[in-house]
Assembly symmetry: C2
Homo-oligomer: 191 residues x 2
Amino acid sequence: MQMLREYFKGFGEISSKDMDFLIDRCTEKTLEKGEKLIRPHEHIDSIYFIASGFLHYFSHNEFGERITLKVISPNNCWTIMDSFFHQVTTSDECLALTHVRYCELKRSDYEAVKSHNKDLANFIQTITEYILSSKVVEANKKSKMSVEERYLDLLQHHPDMIQQVPVHIIASYIGTSRETLHRIRRKLTAA
Amino acid sequence: MQMLREYFKGFGEISSKDMDFLIDRCTEKTLEKGEKLIRPHEHIDSIYFIASGFLHYFSHNEFGERITLKVISPNNCWTIMDSFFHQVTTSDECLALTHVRYCELKRSDYEAVKSHNKDLANFIQTITEYILSSKVVEANKKSKMSVEERYLDLLQHHPDMIQQVPVHIIASYIGTSRETLHRIRRKLTAA
DNA sequence: TTGTTAATGTGTCAAATGACACAGTTTTTG
DNA sequence: CAAAAACTGTGTCATTTGACACATTAACAA
């Protein structure tokens, strides 16, 4: 929970009373490796903050193969935005690739925080703007980089992900096949 | 301006007084084909609503070649989020591919709207959530589709873009070369 | 512990792609 | 109007990629 506090502090100043109100609405949970955070065709009713571990967020193509949409890392807020904001079901899934510690904020509590007072409403608005901006920056960065550059970027910024997440999932995350990623790795170790 | 009103209405109910306050803070402008909306190394200080025409939003790679980040279509709000929210300069550019009509909302007016009253603050929060959700949906859709599927998707949803925007820009938008896009088009007309 | 399943490493090969070169066409501009 | 610039269409070719096949190793469960 201390980690979540620090995460929130990064977005600006709020009174400790407001911070407590916010933190009190979050509950700590864990997942075992292989457990699902989001089951198929579920209603998403929470925002999640990942404290440790990695999650695999994926969808399916016409023939049931998994399409990686994201590998979710610690110290991030995440949910299936579309499903959460518009209260529709999703066919996507999300499962723990390792043991995961996370905090959950239910929709009703999210609404409660927004309407508690003006400062908290502004605070949530700031966080939303920040996340929006990050998503766009991330997408732009991705479209500028080659597959190899994306791998090097992961190595630099998320070395622990490379250690703990299977190669074929990393590969699909950076948009290639496991064989091509293997070629890249071989080339890099040779150099 | 009527178009912007309709666009806002799509996000929910607000009083006509609030709507007027919001609309009054927007100013109508135009760009000629080839004119720049965003110059390199500029501070972004506005949000834009595109009423008609197409814009090319691009960055540069190490050797100065243009990397398409987006082709901006009518009936959309757009800005360089990162630069707008965090008041940093951007090295990206944005120029008109056709004659463009748009509305501009300055940062100071955006802040004024947010702090005018609770309803408007909530309204802006709702729009921000909506745009965030759309960005993620769009990115996920993109990662699920092949280049050919992305082209077919454009044909279906933005036939006018295909007409009015040069092939090499469409190609880089959907993530391929102009030659490969040409092969796809040839194959489709043959069938 | 052992059998089973998942993950990784590697080679071959056909298919897809990007780079290049150039011709024809359209648009812009002086 | 004429020249220049931008855009489009097309062929060739070397490179990259994904798909497949299979061996080896690691992780897991009975």
